[in-house]
Symmetry: C2
Subunit: 704 residues, 2 copies
């Protein structure tokens, strides 16, 4: 599929010969890449942002077929989501949490023996009530922030920047945890139907994250239709499980599983308040991902806010039914969590409901896929939030850069790296990751509810009191749950998040301060006028030998200044003498300085030589700008980067902080026509063809 506004067709890679082709083909050279909008103003077309590498272009073509073409900012309006599609895309995160929430409740209650498992139903209902409250609150966020009201945006604009940063830190943690928890839970589902590969848990988990990462680096978008399939399959089959389970219960056919291999051993703790709170805290992970729709309001078809709010309601109802339903059915079947996570509770429920048939396998695969989709949503959300933070100066700027495929590569890679580390550190065990997950989520919930209360008090539109109370109740509720989760789960991992959020906030402030200080240092007063410079220039060319790359560097050096000298650093005096002889013959007019380096060092003697040159300059004159012109060999393969240009890299690093000094890298490629030589003794123009890079027309051009 071609972008509609690309008359020039596909863009070829930048190659010397290609330019010549295009020169003939394209009449108005701007046309292919730019729209001319006035004196010195151009607007880039899609062609100007195409991938530069061959692999990148191939993937772009494949994914354009599978996923649709990438969108420009202004085009996005044409691609709004219907409610049906939005439900599939935005709710994978929230709905997929029903795959592990019931199990987390049972895992706590089992400590008090089988009888305690009955309480799981009450706890599930309590969580569903909280879900309803949060969903009501977020319906209001959809209306109040139609631009997409992430917790960071709400807290920053309605509360203080500091609370915004806390929300941002919590959100970043939340996204990382979504990847880790969803991946490890997806593995539990896979191992439930394929227990043989369970020993490769970590490896498969990392492989999955790597695949999702590569997909996202290549510009994978979640908007494709294929993403809706697993969500609807999961929804349909989960409903079927719940329905058949209810029928079984009503008809009295719900018999407990006779014997469950690999079950968690029963505990003997008393069913006290603390245990109930812990079970509630564990189960509240069902609420994670609910906010996704509120963040994505602009992606809905108009009326955006209303459609988003209704989708939010729909999603919450579905989630509540599946969550409570699975909990009730699991209890009716007498299911106990497995010792090492697999088979999972949902797998056991599905197995009891469907038997060992194709429906069971389909459901398990759909569950694993919806969990991977949930992980994938974080790969969109994390880099986008990081880019917003980078634009606001709270994260390093490269998080706002877009790669070849217009993906925020830095954010994607950092997210994948941290998620993999978490997976390894916690052995890919879902239960151990949950405490880290819930705290971040409830920090965001609470902050955005509190922000909404402030919002309504500020705008005071009709019914603001009513709206503010809903958000207020939501804030109190989620705040209490936050305190409960953080305290009962403190020792089992929640303390990490409690430490991490202040560290992240401190990092945001530090970076903000740094960028501010640098901007002040670099600032110019508006009344300062820049005049042309008068400084002398001098060119130093460190040469490793005499070859075509060096000649090219010499030519570039000569076009910068007339004061050009080459420096040869060597520990071998014989080679030096030989090079001097060749040099004087073949490069007349450019002096060669030989620096013997008995310590076999390269950078030190060169820097010392530059120092000596500077200090030899008369004291009452400013030293000239020194251009250090470094020949480089253009690598055409990745491994060539290891083999070549390492000296050039070191010189650049060593010279970066040097005053009056500018490093010029001159890449050499064989086709490059900068290269100009003349056969000795041959008359002007008579030596055509003796050398690939020779330029007979111009070899007797006057010296500049």
């Amino acid at each position: 599929m071609k972008p509609p506004n690309d008359p020039g067709g596909s863009r070829r890679p930048i190659k010397g010969r290609k330019i010549a082709d295009r020169r003939v083909r394209v009449e108005r050279p701007h046309a292919a890449f730019f729209r001319y909008t006035g004196e010195g103003s151009l607007v880039a077309k899609a062609a100007a942002s195409r991938p530069l590498t061959r692999a990148g272009r191939f993937v772009a073509r494949v994914s354009a077929i599978a996923l649709g073409r990438p969108l420009a900012s202004e085009e996005e309006i044409g691609e709004r989501l219907s409610k049906k599609k939005a439900l599939a895309i935005f709710s994978s995160d929230a709905i997929s949490s029903s795959a592990y929430a019931t199990e987390e409740i049972l895992r706590v209650l089992i400590l008090a023996g089988t009888a305690a498992l009955l309480v799981s139903i009450q706890i599930a209902i309590a969580i569903a009530i909280m879900l309803a409250m949060v969903a009501l609150s977020y319906r209001q966020v959809c209306r109040a922030f139609p631009g997409g009201g992430g917790a960071y945006a709400v807290a920053r604009s309605e509360l203080t920047p500091m609370l915004g940063l806390i929300a941002a830190g919590a959100l970043l943690i939340d996204y990382v945890m979504t990847v880790a928890v969803s991946t490890s839970s997806a593995l539990d589902q896979i191992f439930s139907i394929a227990p043989g590969i369970a020993s490769l848990r970590i490896e498969i988990g990392i492989l999955a994250i790597v695949l999702i990462t590569v997909g996202n680096l290549r510009g994978l978008r979640e908007s494709g239709n294929i993403f809706a399939v697993p969500t609807y399959v999961f929804l349909a089959l989960a409903m079927l499980i719940v329905a058949s389970g209810v029928v079984h219960i009503v008809t009295g056919e719900a018999h407990p599983l006779p014997h469950q291999a690999n079950a968690e051993p029963l505990g003997t703790e008393a069913l006290g308040l603390l245990l109930l709170l812990r079970a509630f805290a564990s189960g509240s992970v069902a609420l994670t991902g609910v906010e996704a729709i509120a963040n994505g309001v602009p992606a809905f078809k108009p009326p955006e806010a209303k459609n988003a709010a209704n989708t939010m309601t729909m999603m919450s109802i579905l989630l509540a039914i599946i969550f409570i339903g699975l909990t009730v059915v699991a209890h009716a079947y007498g299911i106990i969590p497995s010792l090492h996570g697999a088979p999972s509770v949902v797998a056991l429920v599905a197995g009891t409901a469907f038997g060992d048939g194709p429906l069971y396998y389909t459901f398990q695969i759909a569950t694993a896929l919806i969990l991977f989709l949930a992980a994938n949503t974080s790969f969109n959300a994390f880099p986008r939030l990081a880019a917003i933070l980078a634009d606001d100066g709270y994260m390093p700027r490269q998080f706002a850069f877009r790669g070849d495929r217009l993906a925020y590569n830095w954010g994607i890679v950092v997210l994948a790296g941290i998620a993999c580390l978490l997976l390894v550190a916690f052995g890919g065990v879902t239960t151990m990751l949950i405490p880290l997950y819930s705290v971040g989520v409830f920090v965001c919930f609470t902050l955005s509810q509190v922000g909404m209360v402030r919002h309504w008090r500020r705008v005071r539109e009709t019914g603001w009191w009513w709206r503010a109370s809903i958000n207020g109740i939501g804030a109190v509720m989620t705040g209490v749950v936050l305190v409960v989760v953080a305290s009962v789960k403190f020792t089992s991992g929640a303390y990490l998040v409690v430490i991490l959020i202040p560290i992240l906030v401190a990092m945001f402030w530090f970076i903000h301060h740094q960028y501010g200080a640098a901007a002040r240092q670099l600032a110019m007063r508006p009344d300062q006028i820049v005049r042309p410079p008068h400084r002398d220039e001098r060119v130093i060319i460190p040469v490793p030998t005499l070859n075509r790359a060096v000649v090219q560097a010499v030519n570039v050096g000569r076009s910068i200044s007339e004061d050009v000298r080459a420096v040869y650093i060597s520990d071998d005096p014989d080679q030096a003498t030989e090079l001097r002889k060749r040099w004087q013959q073949q490069v007349p007019g450019v002096p060669l300085v030989i620096v013997e380096s008995p310590y076999r060092a390269l950078v030190g003697p060169l820097v010392a030589y530059l120092d000596v040159l500077d200090s030899a300059w008369p004291a009452d004159h400013e030293a000239p700008i020194t251009f250090v012109v470094v020949p480089e060999y253009v690598a055409r393969h990745w491994w060539e980067r290891i083999l070549y240009n390492q000296s050039a890299k070191r010189l650049r690093t060593a010279l970066l902080g040097r005053p009056h000094t500018v490093v010029v890298n001159v890449p050499y490629r064989r086709e490059d026509p900068i290269f100009e030589t003349r056969t000795r003794g041959a008359g002007p123009g008579s030596d055509a063809g003796t050398d690939a890079g020779l330029d007979p027309q111009t070899s007797n051009a006057p010296q500049r």
Copy 2:
């Protein structure tokens, strides 16, 4: 300690202000860093290679006190080693292997029950005979290759380059294994006296390797006197153990240990030929490191070859006595290897001989230290061999680079990395690493003996027949052992080495081929003469905003060419309009092109703009050289490198392969006087002091 030929005293870091100071202080600017040896010829003094960073200089001072100052190539002759010191330095690798060789024999024999342990003495004697043969052979290498005859040098010059590369591959593996085996055996010794920390095996092992690595990166040399101490303590105490053990045996007081906790369970295998061969193969690890003296002949005091040969004899005798002695005594005390390596067999022997007193602890610490010293010798040998291979074009050139502290940083880091990986992969268990070790060692032995036979046949000096037979017998013997080791240990790890050597050789050839191809592509005919260029130049400055760094880049750009234009790439038209207004006022004469990038990409639109400029050039003219001048902010801290200049890096990468294009990085530092501005309306010279970078003398200098 100052280098003797450094009249200028310590060299200060390169800073703008320092140059001015030095200009006043130093009359002949060459004097501090260079010796002037003729027209355009300088020889760098030690001062020119001093560390450039503050931390580097501090470490240099500390280690100069502890270890002596670094040596220039030509100075090394003044630092020759006496036999006593050479024994300590070169033999740590060989002698330290007596700390695990006996144990390796016992570990195999125990599979046939306690009775089989008696055979360990015969096996030790057989190995000692082979040691004598190898030592005799290497005495001859000392005489034939007084320049240092590593297996690579011998095989390359006496056999074929291919066999040289096989030897090089085997040697590199050998050095890596020395680090891994010595470190893990040192850990066994430490855990023998401190079993409480044995669970941190991998962590402590990696810590030890990291410490050795840092020491070597900082220019640690093994020549210091402190390195001799552990070797001599180990030698003295080992002799004492052997002597007291022999006395016990003679007087009949050598009672077997009553009960040995944690002992390896007795096996029930028959004591067949295969088991004997396996025990012999395991014990032959005692020979590792014997070649070190032959590699280091030039470091001896004259007469080098004779002194080295005699040291070789001495070392072999000591090693044989200790190895056989420890084996005999261990058997007399009825010692059985421990299940997890600690307490080690030497520790059990020493414990029986010395009791639980200070001598025991001293011996264990000395044993651990001599093993770490053995690991340290590889940190000298591996990078040096890699540098030789790099100089010969068989490894990437950066292995021949020397860092600030004149250490081969690349080799050191690669060695440490691989050794750590091995330690982790094999759980730091010495026994599991041994099979990988012996194969490489015996490949080197065999190749260098065969090479020596060829050598004697070629030179045919008096008694060559006799000498050739010694080396011939040595070659056959080590060749047979090589086959035995490789076959009986094949499945337990030796196959890795058998696979790895061809892979390494293939890699060497590939790299050699690449460098050769590149050199041919770059080669110039000797009759080609380089004339001054005639090409037009054009400067493009991508600007992120208008600030002092940008102004500096504009000034540099203007001094390169008169055709300068700035390009601003943005997705925000309002910001663009604002910048254009400021730019036209403050930087008159330099046009600003605004490229709107609705896809928020930076690199793509810039490259497309450069393409458009090129294609707009008349078809019958060559396109000018395009200088892309990129402003950079000089980072003063490591974290600043993360925060700044990321765009500059991306532009450089994207433009590296572009024809006619040269990237110029202009670093900005506040002190840098390239920066020149003029307050609007102020007369020439009247605006002194209004701006830090202002240069009143020159602000009305004529335009270039």
